[in-house]
């Protein structure tokens, strides 16, 4: 008799015109900018638009799957009708889905796939890795290089998603004709660890180094500082991910080759829309499925110097004044960002 | 009992102290004048150390008044007691085991040149002080952790000679000392008296007490149990008071009627 307690403690969560349902947004970590800077406010905004009476329950699990489980339990205790779950570990988050199911709570897997969820809204993580790899190879080929040494600076060894990026990137780079001379799983995604690693490697790989795969913009920052202070000139292409402001600035300045932009606004709005549907007991319509879960799959976009304006700036993800601080004014001008 | 024109260096009245369920001190009275050596004696656990710790600022009594040179004081820290001119040699020595002899001797009153410790001067003065107490310490640069019991005690006593105190409290200073060292400490106490200092000596050794003290104050089970002038008494009488064979206790029925002087 768990469902019974639910409605009483939930307090007027009867689905109806006015809504009033509680929807929980459970995000995984704080060490990258996107979650609290973009996902949460976008989602909140979209939710307001979809259902003015709905309340948002929000929590962030700091990269701890067990903590996320507890936060899910708390959300359900507070009477959440839908969990919008960006899992710390998509695989083990099945537990949360099971617990939710037992209580009649719906789960919308957000950003990271969780088997058994009621809906899935995301970018594909492996795809991200592939995009990074492909772009890197393309840039190199374009500059006439077909062989040479690459260094891979992956994400955290204790982060399941990092493994996806890595897998995706390998699927491209392994067969690209370039040699992966050194590879590193950056503990905690720590930029300074990435920097130290790159510095150390530089002593041996510098002569033949043609490019660096960095899993996200943070590690890319560390790598680039190492390359610069190690006297790598001209700069070799370095990848990134998340379209962090600083990443974009480095792209403008020509230090970083690319980043992967995951348009968070549409992702968040889509999640909010479908969450409200789920809360009202309706089945969201979907064009695709992933592992038989109805899904909205968005495509990540590669951002290079040439398309900053058409991607992050256009979406309002970052503004030109934000990017073009005095320090980057000249580079911006050169890149046509005014 | 003793009323003279200059106020007592130390005058304690009505001192009580309770630890948990044990009443360690009940309404204790103690007076010491300048140029006087008062021996504080009593059985183990009679409360001697607890009493003098209240003067030294190690802990505060629950009730009672402490007057230094006739002025009431509330001593809440050892630093304050030292500022009042009270130097104390504790029964448990209170040395820093990780530091060497020189550092321990000068702890809290280091000699410096500018901001830098003047180790040479301190080492030289240490040797002087220790020789004065005829200490048998092979090196002053060894941590006191590895000193013998008597050597540690000598270091603790030498500490008390450093400042310019008015009142010196010695809690069983000769317990661990050899024959020669004990004699030196007794000499030292006499010299302190000659310099006009007030001295409180706690000791279980009646021979030592009779040799240097002017007056003997006996505690028994946390109460005053008599006071004797050494000139007018003998060891048997004092031991009788210590062991309770003689009962001079002022019972709580008459709380504080006997404030001598004013």
């Amino acid at each position: 008799g768990c469902g019974g307690n639910q409605s009483t403690s939930g307090g007027g969560s009867s689905p109806g015109a006015g809504g009033g349902a509680k929807i929980a947004l459970l995000l995984p970590e704080t060490k990258t900018t996107r979650y609290e800077t973009f996902d949460k406010p976008y989602f909140e905004e979209a939710l307001k638009g979809e259902c003015s009476g709905c309340t948002l329950i929000y929590n962030n699990a700091n990269q701890d799957a067990a903590k996320q489980q507890q936060q899910a339990e708390s959300a359900m205790t507070q009477g959440a009708k839908v969990l919008v779950l960006d899992a710390v570990d998509g695989k083990s988050a099945v537990t949360i889905v099971n617990e939710a199911k037992a209580k009649g709570v719906k789960v919308l897997a957000y950003d990271r796939f969780v088997a058994g969820a009621d809906y899935y809204v995301s970018f594909d993580n492996q795809k991200v890795g592939q995009l990074q790899g492909t772009t890197l190879v393309d840039i190199l080929k374009k500059s006439g290089k077909t062989s040479g040494d690459l260094v891979m600076v992956n994400g955290s060894p204790t982060d399941a998603n990092a493994a996806d990026f890595k897998k995706g990137a390998h699927s491209v780079l392994d067969s690209s004709g370039f040699t992966i001379k050194a590879e590193y799983d950056t503990p905690d995604w720590s930029p300074d660890k990435a920097q130290s690693f790159m510095e150390s490697q530089l002593s041996s790989v510098k002569p033949n180094l043609v490019g660096v795969y960095a899993a996200n913009d943070g590690t890319a920052g560390g790598v680039i500082t190492a390359l610069k202070s190690g006297g790598v000139n001209p700069m070799v292409p370095v990848t990134g991910q998340d379209a962090e402001l600083t990443g974009i600035q480095r792209i403008v300045a020509g230090d970083q080759a690319m980043t992967v932009y995951k348009a968070i606004k549409p992702e968040a709005s889509d999640a909010a829309k479908n969450a409200v549907l789920l809360a009202n007991g309706k089945a969201p319509a979907s064009a695709t499925t992933k592992d038989s879960v109805p899904a909205t799959l968005l495509t990540p976009v590669v951002v290079t110097k040439t398309n900053i304006k058409d991607t992050v700036v256009k979406d309002g993800f970052e503004t030109i004044p934000q990017i073009c601080t005095p320090q980057y004014a000249d580079a911006c001008k050169a890149a046509g960002l005014q | 009992m003793t009323t003279t024109s200059p106020p007592d260096v130390l005058s304690m009245t009505g001192i009580s102290k309770r630890f948990g369920a044990v009443q360690v001190l009940s309404d204790i009275e103690l007076h010491v004048r300048a140029g006087e050596v008062v021996a504080l004696v009593g059985d183990n656990g009679a409360g001697k150390s607890t009493l003098i710790k209240a003067v030294a600022g190690v802990h505060t009594a629950d009730t009672g008044h402490i007057l230094i040179n006739g002025k009431e004081v509330h001593i809440t820290s050892p630093a304050q007691a030292q500022a009042l001119g009270i130097a104390t040699v504790y029964q448990d020595l209170a040395l820093c085991d990780n530091l060497d002899v020189v550092s321990n001797l000068f702890l809290g009153s280091e000699v410096t040149r500018g901001t830098v410790l003047d180790e040479v001067t301190m080492e030289k003065r240490s040797w002087g002080l220790l020789r004065e107490l005829s200490a048998k310490i092979p090196s002053v640069r060894i941590a006191v952790a590895s000193m013998s019991g008597g050597q540690r005690q000598t270091v603790a006593i030498a500490r008390a000679l450093l400042g310019e105190p008015h009142l010196v409290i010695l809690d069983e200073p000769t317990a661990a000392l050899g024959v020669a060292q004990t004699a030196e400490v007794l000499n030292l106490i006499r010299r302190l008296r000659e310099r006009g200092l007030a001295v409180i000596l706690i000791s279980h050794n009646m021979a030592d007490v009779m040799a240097v003290a002017d007056r003997v104050v006996v505690l028994r089970l946390g109460r005053n149990n008599g006071e004797y002038r050494v000139a007018d008494t003998n060891v048997e009488q004092i031991i009788a008071a210590i062991t309770g064979a003689v009962d001079n206790t002022r019972r709580p029925s008459a709380p504080t009627q006997e404030g001598s002087g004013q």
């Binding site: 708390s74 570990d89 537990t95 617990e99 | 630890f19 948990g20 369920a21 009962d247 019972r251």
Partner: protein
Amino acid sequence: MPGELPPAVLSADLQDERLIQEEGLKGWVKAQGVRLRAGDLGSMPVVIGLVLIWIIFSIKAPVFISPQNLVNLTIQLVPIGILSLGIVFVLLLGEIDLSVGSVSGLTAAVVAVTFVNKGWPMLVAALFAVLCGTVIGLVYGVVFNRFGVPSFVITLAGLLAFLGVQLLVLGNEGTVNLPFNSGLVQFANGTFLPSWGGYVVALVSAVVVLAAGLTNNRTRASAGLSTLPGSIIYGRAVLLALGLAIVAFVLNRDRGVPLMFVLFVLVVAVMDFVIRRTKWGRTIMAVGGNIEAARRSGINVRRVYLTVFVTCSTFAGLGGVLLASRLSAANQSTGAGDVNLNAIAAAVIGGTSLFGGRGSAYSALLGIFVIQSISNGLDLLNLNSAIRFIITGLVTLLAVIIDSTTRRRRARAGRA
């Protein structure tokens, strides 16, 4: 002389005339008052801190004290609580174990891989995992005794090494899910006492306490020692029964009393008994208080270190199994993050000293209650992470301030 008591009628331990005699229940209550003012209160102040936290949270989020949330809380705190219990032993020796997180992560991986991938029977897999913890403790103990490396460094090395082993055990898959309906997962998430079970536990506990109290009084009396007034012995038992019955009643309004929680409390109580009332426990306290004195007493100090490291790591192993059961999965981050720090912090917050020789098994229970209450309470407040971190820090400090202030008062009152 007035005020002199005839010593013949007094028990052997009450004959000193400086003892302030208090009689019967009234005297006992008065004595407690003195202890309170002297700051000599055992775990009381942390409990006050905990109650304060509860009050604050239930004002800010009334759902905090809903039966459902309380049931969640009692389940959530168990795995780290078990780690913390192991930490208590190490801290009592004045040593530290930085690796309980990694070790639990490793054993979580071991139980998941052996049970799910290798298909071992559940209990065998669990036991094997716990045993891995035991073996790790053995290694720590041997290295400590043989080379005298500080436990900080040994367990730091262990923290790193066993994290590596955990990744190796998990292999490429990274995450291994335990079947949701397996016994382990059910035990950690869905097994509750029947509604009468809680009351039975309450009753049995009270009877045990009562019987122990009465027996103790009897033997003391026959040895000529003082006894506690009967009113206190009975009163204590009744209060305990009442308290536990209330807990059971509240939790029964939701799913019931979680079996895992009951067992955790039982283990804590047993460990408290072991520390206070067995030779081994006494020996631990002695070594933690003054290792040289312990050695000179003929205690085999090395064996004490060895057994304590083994105990701690075994509890870490058990905690790992529970972590996996709770999450119904083991992954690369199981046991990582702040698991380790929380386990140590719980013991310290609960009042166990980092310097050895002072503490109790209950500090693990109390401390983890504090930590988990804060975490759970903040989960209910929808804060963004920056604010959440700040509040967690401040509330943690608050919880301990009351305790520390009274302890300090005790130190001032002269009790070292």
